[in-house]
């Protein structure tokens, strides 16, 4: 078996890694170090300077050694595999892994039982951002006083629901086909059917009603993702009681919708619905709305995103029973107190959106065939995404990335994990630093964050005995924000004054989701404040908000005299 020829790619392929002692790095272009927050220990260097053209020393295993070792760990002599790598699930995680694998010269196949693109493209990020773009514009156009302050008059802005839904749909289709084509073009085999692990390094796949195919691969990555979680007692009918899957199709805009769960999914939908004219009621089990955010940001977000809008809320309650609307009766939601479980209230609304989180999609994966048991549906993995079996041992050649492992249920985290796995299987150890992965909520204004929240930082500081510094700045001080009349916003930097390490950055304001990357890059690379504060930011841009933060942080003089930090960046 040899590598399949394919068209249009700049990456020459080598044969299978396992039987060639030539390094997998027989690629014309230099290694692209994927800095997903690499632990410096893993690389063993003490400097922060790297050029992309330089080769990097690896502290651990040489490639060929690793390759033959793993081949032998099977207990059987190296046999030939159909593929170097099989990925189960063609969502964002799988796609990211597949692209990187091809770049590294692996013969790759990807199994997809539903639609390419998975949740993100079809039922998640892509359509939701389309809807949020619409709602952002609607909100702007409808804000009379905002327009007036700019000297504009807009008469009766309106929308056509089908047009909005089509925009989201069309975008999803487009991205889906882009994804498919990109993989096909690179020579990734897209196998259609539901994939199941039947044994070590062996997968079967097939469509219902058709015979199964069995394929073997040196390494397998599980990337099956997640589905919306619906707590028991809630009856989803797809029309009046819906999950995000249905909501993104925007088949209707209800007058009054209750959103169960005030995390970022619920928050984004509240933004969409209120901009389109609905009224929203949040139902939150915890005592605080938006529990995942830094409390200071959460408070400001509540002031801007909830209080002035047609939104009210019930906190500290569970929705034990939700009955869809029928026979002219509205959707009925029964609430009980979260702690005492006493019945608290009953709501009657036009629709209910269940946004209580996502559950891993791992049923039928055949994990029992490799002695793996899921925990609450999640596949247990270590920090290298290697799957752990019931005895606590690592299952060789089996990895799990993305929502299915539950480590960080975000699209870009999934692809970063996928890349990390491909790095490992091609001979470079790699441990992803999740603290350098940013997250964003695309409300208007946006919220974004990377690293620790202030309470988390203070807790860590107490345990480890260091001081925490907090720098804050308002968007009101930013020229560009004021020019747009969007001065409402706050950026917050949590850092260590003793060594200039950035612990966390939180932004609430215009384009927060784009601005955060300066900070996440800094954390990934271990850049300290005293170094980054000299970087120049164009004026007038929103990025000066971060410039302000870095410049206003007070790093102790002692730290300034040291050379580049050799301490590890926290993982």
């Amino acid at each position: 078996m040899h590598s399949i020829c394919f068209q249009a790619t700049g990456v020459p392929r080598s044969n299978y890694i396992f039987d060639s002692c030539s390094p997998a790095l027989a690629i014309s272009k230099p290694i692209n170090l994927r800095f997903c927050g690499l632990r410096k220990e893993a690389f063993g260097f003490s400097g922060l300077t790297h050029s992309s053209s330089g080769r990097v020393r690896f502290s651990s295993r040489g490639h060929s050694k690793k390759v033959s070792a793993s081949a032998e760990s099977n207990g059987s002599p190296p046999k030939s595999f159909d593929y170097d790598l099989i990925i189960i699930g063609a969502g964002v995680g799988g796609h990211g892994a597949a692209l990187h694998a091809v770049e590294k010269g692996l013969k790759t196949a990807i199994i997809e039982g539903d639609v390419v693109g998975g949740t993100c493209v079809n039922r998640g990020c892509v359509p939701s951002k389309a809807l949020l773009a619409v709602s952002g514009k609607m909100r702007e156009l409808q804000s009379e006083h905002h327009m007036k302050a700019l000297g504009l008059q807009v008469s009766a802005a309106g929308y056509d629901r089908q047009g909005v839904a089509d925009h989201a749909n069309n975008l999803a289709s487009k991205i889906r086909s882009n994804l498919t084509n990109s993989m096909k073009a690179l020579g990734v085999d897209i196998l259609t059917g539901v994939g199941t692990i039947v044994g070590p390094q062996k997968v079967k796949y097939g469509k219902v009603g058709f015979p199964d195919n069995i394929v073997t691969a040196k390494n397998i990555i599980i990337a099956t993702g997640s589905v919306p979680f619906v707590p028991k007692g809630i009856e989803v009918d797809g029309k009046t009681v819906i999950t995000s899957d249905h909501a993104l199709k925007l088949e209707s805009v209800p007058d009054w919708i209750a959103i169960v769960g005030s995390g970022y999914i619920g928050l984004e939908f509240s933004d969409v619905y209120t901009a389109l004219g609905s009224e929203v009621t949040f139902i939150e089990a915890l005592d605080q709305l938006m529990p995942g955010f830094d409390p200071e940001i959460g408070k400001l977000a509540q002031r801007v995103l909830i209080n002035p809008r047609k939104i009210d809320y019930h906190t500290g309650v569970f929705a034990t029973k939700i009955t869809p609307a029928k026979d002219g009766k509205p959707v009925i939601i029964e609430l009980i107190d979260a702690k005492t479980k006493e019945p608290k209230d009953t709501l009657e609304v036009d629709a209910a959106l269940i946004a209580t989180g996502r559950a891993p999609f791992t049923n039928g994966l055949g994990l029992e065939n490799v002695n793996v048991v899921t925990q609450r549906g999640f596949v247990p993995v270590d920090e290298r995404m290697q799957v752990i079996d019931t005895n606590g041992n690592l299952v060789p050649h089996l990895y799990c990335i993305g929502d299915a492992n539950g480590k960080m249920m975000l699209a870009h985290a999934a692809s970063a994990q996928g890349i990390s796995v491909v790095e490992q299987v091609t001979g470079r150890d790699h441990v992803l630093n999740h603290l350098s992965i940013p997250a964003a909520c695309f409300t208007h204004p946006e919220i974004s964050m990377v690293g620790l929240t202030e309470p988390q930082a203070r807790e860590k500081a107490q345990k480890e005995g260091f001081e925490v510094g907090v720098a804050k700045t308002s968007f009101k001080a930013n020229t560009k924000a004021l020019a747009e009349n969007e001065g409402e916003g706050l950026a917050k930097l949590i850092y260590r004054p003793d060594n200039g390490e950035i612990l966390g950055v939180h932004i609430f304001g215009l384009h927060a989701a784009d601005l955060i990357h300066e900070a996440s890059n800094a954390i990934a690379l271990g850049t300290r404040i005293q170094d980054i504060k000299f970087a120049v930011h164009a004026h007038p841009t929103l990025s000066e908000v971060l410039d302000e933060l870095f410049k206003s942080a007070k790093v102790k003089a002692a730290a300034l005299s040291h050379g580049p930090v050799s301490e590890p960046v926290a993982v």
């Binding site: 408070k299 047609k310 939104i311 009657e348 001080a477």
Partner: protein
């Protein structure tokens, strides 16, 4: 006239954001705030600042404050600044909530010297908003009763037209016979802001729920100020067929009514489109200005231009012009009606006028109006009769009476 003619007027709605401490003057005690209870003022953070917005309270009610400690974060035109306390004590009452706006110099919180005074300070700050949203429920009944009793001659200073929102949401199908109120989120917000009792609003939204425009309609409709004590519905308690003598107040009203019949009157009805008024009202509503105050002020300003309307004839031969423009607006109180007076309404600014009006109403309801407050010589009476919401505009007929009480 078995029952008094109830005047209806706009509730002097005051949200908690209203910065004044008129509450402390609400009781007829000394107007001075006791030295032990101090006010925390909205500071001027820049020379250009006229009002500030409270970003967040760093201390909560009941917290101990030391001199120089930051109490609140205020947003000015330039930046957010921490405001310190100048005295030691306890943060007794927060008068302007987070997100609220207050003019520079107005009180935003009360500081009590000792813990015991916290409750006292709280009482002071709350007495202004203590007149609970009228129990509007019984209004419909009273109005319906009163209506047939009203003499056809609209000489009466106040004729409540029974157009007001009628029975409460007991008719809501989902509310299980009045047990539950079903209102949309925006309706609830508005109700809180406009101090409307949702229990008395009829829902016109889908499945009978209360929506925002129902609340708006209820707020501008003609709620009767029920007494803070027991809201006694008219029907029970009166034995039919018996003779019940007038109370003093009822007697006085009756006398004045009869007297007024001998006064030549004419009525002018005018339809006014109130878009500009609405816009103004919307703008300053949050500062505690009510429609009543606005109308009183408007009347006063009109009288400045047409003083002859503010004159009276005593001897049948001459005009006696009022030396000042004092507007009296009728307030329905339990068992009767009284007309507190806004003195020099033309000279006083709208915010002070609103505040003053609020005080007077509270005093009237607590039956603590001083004679000079309802009886200053020649008065110009304004009675607000009916505010009807038709289409998107507010269309009301204000009947100004050349009702001369000389």
């Amino acid at each position: 006239m078995a029952n008094v003619l109830q005047t209806s007027f706009l509730p002097s709605t005051s949200s908690l954001r209203r910065p004044s401490i008129s509450g402390s003057k609400g009781k007829s005690q000394s107007l001075q705030v006791k030295a032990k209870i101090r006010e925390i003022f909205m500071p001027a953070l820049s020379s250009t600042m006229t009002e500030g917005k409270i970003v967040s309270w760093m201390k909560s009610e009941g917290d101990k404050l030391s001199k120089g400690e930051s109490v609140v974060v205020v947003e000015s035109d330039k930046a957010d600044m921490d405001v310190e306390s100048f005295h030691e004590g306890f943060l007794a009452a927060i008068m302007v909530e987070e997100g609220g706006v207050a003019p520079v110099g107005s009180a935003i919180a009360l500081l009590a010297e000792t813990e015991d005074e916290i409750s006292e300070a709280k009482a002071k700050s709350q007495s202004s908003s203590s007149s609970t949203p009228q129990v509007v429920e019984e209004k419909p009944k009273q109005i319906e009763e009163a209506a047939p009793d009203v003499p056809a001659a609209a000489a009466a200073p106040s004729v409540p037209v029974a157009k007001a929102v009628t029975l409460g949401s007991a008719v809501h199908p989902a509310s299980e016979g009045g047990k539950r109120i079903v209102a949309s989120p925006y309706a609830k917000k508005l109700a809180k802001e406009l101090k409307v009792d949702l229990g008395a609003v009829v829902g016109s939204g889908p499945l009978g729920r209360i929506v925002a425009k129902d609340v708006e309609a209820a707020a501008v409709a003609v709620p009767v100020a029920a007494s803070p004590a027991k809201p006694d519905p008219v029907a029970p308690g009166i034995e039919l067929g018996t003779v019940v003598p007038f109370t003093t107040m009822q007697g006085a009203v009756s006398r004045n009514m009869v007297e007024s019949l001998s006064v030549p009157t004419f009525r002018v009805g005018y339809t006014i489109t109130t878009n500009a008024l609405d816009a103004l009202y919307k703008k300053i509503k949050s500062k505690g200005v009510t429609m009543t105050a606005l109308l009183a002020k408007a009347t006063a300003l009109a009288l400045v231009q047409h003083p002859v309307v503010n004159s009276c004839c005593r001897d049948g031969n001459s005009f006696t012009y009022n030396s000042s423009i004092n507007i009296a607006v009728a307030v329905a109180i339990d068992g009767g009606l009284i007309t507190p007076v806004l003195q020099d309404a033309d000279k006083v600014d709208i915010y002070t006028l609103s505040r003053k009006w609020k005080e007077l109403v509270d005093k009237a309801r607590a039956k603590q109006l001083q004679p000079h407050e309802y009886n200053t010589g020649m008065l110009f009476h304004v009675s607000i009769v009916q505010l009807d919401d038709i289409d998107a505009g507010i269309f009301f007929g204000v009947m100004l009476f050349a009702y001369l009480l000389c």
